[in-house]
């Protein structure tokens, strides 16, 4: 279920709230925990000039500059995850064994251009 309630009405590049509910996808009978988790996603503008809190790469700074000079020719840089964290899932496998599995890069903590 994607319900985003941006905390500050800003269209700058930042994490947006996305809660993944395992029961929504009908997995509640084999996933023991968690019942869901906050995955989030990145969305927003990377306008010129790029400010420090937009976690931008040098190339993104260059690209926003070119975009500001030639908006039709060169798009703005993308807003992407730059810091992610893992989650752990406890579940039953097909042989009724209990499995604890760690997955990397499942939660967007920070976004950047």
């Amino acid at each position: 279920s994607a319900h985003s309630t941006p905390v500050t009405p800003s269209n700058l590049c930042k994490p947006r709230r996305l809660y993944i509910s395992f029961s929504d996808v009908g997995w509640e009978n084999w996933i023991i925990a968690p019942q869901g988790y906050l995955a989030n996603y990145c969305l927003g503008e990377c306008p010129f000039p790029l400010t420090a809190e937009l976690n931008s790469t040098n190339h993104a700074i260059l690209q926003t500059m070119v975009h500001s000079l030639d908006p039709e020719g060169t798009p703005q840089p993308c807003c992407v995850p730059v810091r992610l964290s893992p989650i752990s899932i406890l579940y039953y496998d097909n042989n009724d064994n209990v499995v604890l599995r760690h997955y990397e890069d499942m939660v967007v903590d920070e976004c950047g251009c």
């Binding site: 996808v25 009908g26 997995w27 009978n29 084999w30 023991i32 925990a33 968690p34 810091r83 992610l84 964290s85 893992p86 752990s88 899932i89 406890l90 579940y91 039953y92 496998d93 097909n94 042989n95 009724d96 064994n97 209990v98 499995v99 604890l100 599995r101 760690h102 997955y103 990397e104 890069d105 939660v107 903590d109």
Partner: protein, 233 residues
């Protein structure tokens, strides 16, 4: 399955959607590890290496606890000082090909750690054999066809005894020959002590009756999930 669901399962490293039939309680060791990671402050979460199990200090991102599918062995003739003889079998076939086994730990659980007055101070001997041959009747062919892995004595019943079986579990996978293990617990014979009468032996074995069950905790590393993200990072 819808396409989306099967793709999502695949991204989680699962080929099919599990369909548990008789779910068992969650082993406390897994629950503790899960809770510990869940309670980490979000600022620390990305510092945790999802491809290492720090609790056991081994590489790995999948921890499974296999329940024992073996059976007790009663082969008729009373054996000298033997309280318990059990076949242990853990079905590791669920491990996917791309998973590298990094640790296997056997846990033998007793239901309590109190001490039965009747066997106060009684010393027991525990032997663990790897079965390499199966006799026709499905019974372990006694001396040959099995390799002694562990032999130790213990005088007090702890809640559980732990044994590192990483080497054996890797053998099972490498040679695809998993014929299980044989567990024997007997009253320590001491030097040349003669076997007590059957009733005597029975009373000495009473505390072994608190034997509850055995399970095998296995840690594996999914080469696909762990190596790929490392390269990207």
């Amino acid at each position: 399955l819808s396409l989306q669901e099967s793709l999502l399962l695949k991204s989680l490293g699962l080929s099919t959607k599990p369909n548990p039939k008789s779910p068992v309680p969650v082993p406390s060791v897994l629950w503790r590890i899960f809770q510990k990671r869940k309670m980490l402050p979000s600022t620390d979460k990305d510092l945790v290496d999802a491809c290492r199990v720090e609790e056991f200090n081994v590489p790995g991102n999948i921890i499974r606890v296999f329940t024992d599918q073996g059976h007790f062995i009663h082969d008729g003739q009373p054996q000298r000082l033997l309280c318990l003889q059990k076949r242990l079998y853990f079905n590791l076939s669920v491990l996917e090909e791309g998973e590298r086994l990094t640790m296997a730990q056997l846990e033998i659980k007793f239901s309590h750690n109190s001490y039965h007055t009747s066997s106060q101070g009684q010393v027991f001997e525990l032997r663990l054999y790897q079965t390499s041959q199966m006799s026709l009747r499905g019974m372990p062919s006694h001396e040959h066809g099995r390799k002694l892995l562990v032999e130790q004595s213990f005088a007090q019943l702890h809640k559980s005894l732990l044994f590192n079986l990483s080497g054996v579990a890797k053998d099972w996978r490498t040679y695809s020959r998993n014929l299980g293990l044989i567990l024997e617990i007997s009253v320590s014979g001491g030097d040349g002590a003669s076997a007590p009468e059957h009733g005597g032996l029975q009373s000495l074995c009473t505390s072994i009756d608190s034997f509850l069950d055995t399970s095998l905790l296995v840690v594996t590393l999914s080469q696909k999930q762990c190596k790929a993200s490392r390269m990207r990072r």
